[in-house]
Amino acid sequence: MIIKLEKIKIQSRKSEEAIDITPKVDEVIRQSGVKQGLVNVMTCHTSSGLLVTEGIPCLEEDILTHFSRLFPEDENYHHRRYLDYDGRLGFNAETHLKSILGGISCSFPIEDGKMVRGSRQTIYFMEYDGPLQRTYMVQVLGE
């Protein structure tokens, strides 16, 4: 059995952004040599996310717009206090909540060395608190 873990850095360039990482996941699967198995993808951060949806700009915009409607910046969040372990205030509760709502991981089966996904399914790295350099993990398991 092959188990391969890749930690991939990604630079977001905006405050909020949906970045298509499907080709990168395909590449990790190809390089792993796994023909039959499973791939898991997960963000390493609590103010970013990982989600799957149709890969078109209007949906990218809708997700970010409506997440912001659900978790507005001006709400009354308990997180807005000094965090001594960070040496700064935590005033990004809404970005954490978006991450929880949208999810942080996804998985797909692998068959004949390729990720099996619906024709419209696209894997997005979701930046909710950028711009930052981020890391997500791709783990391939199989034979």
């Binding site: 206090r81 040496g87 700064r88 205030l89 350099q133």
Partner: protein
Amino acid sequence: MRIDFHTHPVLIQEMVDKYPNYARMARDIFQIGNNFQPLETFHLQMDVAGIDRAVLLPIDCERARGDAVSSNEQVAELCSTSDRFIGFASVDPLKTGAVKELEHAIKKMGMKGLKLDAALQDFELRDSKVYELYEAAEGLNIPVLLHTGMSWAPATLIERGHPMLLEEAIARFKKLNFVLAHWGWPWVWEATALALKYPNVYLDTSCLYYDGPKEFYQFVFSKQIPTTVLERSLRNRMVFGSNYPRVEIKNMVHALCTLELTEACLKKVFEENPGRLLGLK
């Protein structure tokens, strides 16, 4: 051209990779826990905030804390990578040769101001040695930015940053522009009083100690100090400062813009006042 007058280059990955002590000083002395980021992120943070240039502040606390939280040389190195960065020098007033070190940083390294932090550098603001630096800075025609008010750095005393400790120097060095960082919080009225009375006192807006940037600004610059005081009396004495990376620049820009300040006043805060202090054309 919008300027952020108060940033600390403590989380830059390239510097952490190059200088063995850089990470320790950021984590243990300055105390910040965020992930280190490539220099590109700093530029992008400025971009999304609509900031064109940023003042980079070193802190020479080698005597007090074992090393600098970004040295003059390291800040100069970062400034050499981009015209967007404006370097200040930090000198320990109690160190032998402090005046010469400042002169060297300004004349040879291209620094544009002096940064002092009595709490982190562990000196008394009324020490005669500090006055020697003020005299030199006055002669060099550069501003001095002083940490005032509360410091998050764990080994420091808040009282070291009381803005009234500066009054005697402010009154004495009339041609030296003093920038009181963090608006002196929690002594915001004291800092305001100094700016109201003395024409050589400026206040930077890098002021955030509880709640979020918008809530904090709304309280301090509306309920505590009426916004009219900023607009009418201090419009020529305020400079925008974020204190990045303790807070993202965009959040502080947004918070400032939610105050009921006129566009003309905001232009002074972001552009004209810092430009004048830095001698930019």
